[in-house]
Amino acid sequence: MALCLARNFCNRATIFNPAQLSSARYVSIKVVPATQPAVEGHDARNARFKRPQSPHLTIYKPQLTSMLSITHRGTGILLSSYVIAAGIAGISGDFSVVSSIEALQLGAASLAALKFSIAFPFSYHLVNGIRHLFWDMGKFLSIKEVYTTGYAMLFASIVLSLALTFLF
């Protein structure tokens, strides 16, 4: 092979002949780290198969399980927005939240509604949060238990939120 290359260098007329060049070319092999195959995500795979979003929310039957789950998120977002609002008011030096509500001169029903709008998301997120912690310990995970604890949680959170609204 080396002889072949040397002959090409000597013969200037044929050095640009592609056929001769390819027969004389050295192939160098380099070890490179293997690249892991790209993992296709859930969304990318759905898009490739032209599938609708899963679960298909417009046709999928609403169930207790999914409804309680999304409400847990919803109440979490609501409670977060209350805390963020209080924090932003605090950082802007405005500590008059209580006096501003007092200035509205709310009646008993409006005050109860205001308290309930805090008490219900709090109670729901608290009680369902405890349900989640039991799941995290591996308890109550059968379909039957998920439904039983679901109804129990709903009942307990409504009772607790009414108690917080009217008894305190």
Binding site: S28, A86, A89, G90, G93, F95, V98, L106, A108
Partner: protein, 162 residues
């Protein structure tokens, strides 16, 4: 030539070797590894380690659960006793709790496939800023003795107008 052939075959085998080294953790030279891989190929597991695409989240999951359990005590205590220390603790615990919750939300819904590569990153930065600002604000409230628990207690004490 023989060496380069050996190297080439070892590079072809390297996916196997990479997984094997993760499991056995035995430092071996490439040529030696090549021989071992051929001889013991039946004993090497090549199944990938199962974990999230963005790394190991076990510590975060455990911290989130620990905080959730902690909140079951911190929240009632801070409403039952009036103290600035409990207001600071409540502020920190609540901000950490909602930050992790909203972070999961942003990760779930503000996805690259739906919003492009920029908006998810901006959302995460924005959330971090909101959480930091909220924590600062709640600390200021606690410092001025107008903490979150005390404020809520005062709202509950408002009497109806008529």
């Amino acid at each position: 030539m023989a060496l380069s052939m050996l190297l080439r075959s070892s590079s072809r085998l390297s996916p196997v070797l990479m997984n094997a080294s993760r499991i056995s953790c035995a430092p071996v030279t490439p040529i030696l590894a090549n021989k071992i891989a051929i001889n013991n190929s039946r004993q090497i597991s090549v199944s990938p380690i199962r974990q999230s695409a963005t790394g190991n989240h076990v510590a975060l999951w455990q911290a989130e659960r620990a905080l959730s359990v902690g909140l079951l005590g911190i929240v009632p205590v801070s409403f039952l006793i009036e103290s600035q220390a409990s207001e600071y603790l409540l502020s920190l615990a609540l901000v950490m709790h909602f930050h992790w919750g909203l972070e999961a939300l942003v990760t779930d819904y503000v996805r690259e496939e739906l919003f492009g590569s920029l908006l998810p990153k901006v959302s995460h930065v924005l959330l971090a800023l909101i959480s930091a600002a909220t924590l600062a604000g709640l600390f200021m409230m606690a410092y001025k003795d107008q903490g979150l628990a005390k404020t809520t207690r005062k709202i509950w004490a408002i009497q109806p107008a008529n």
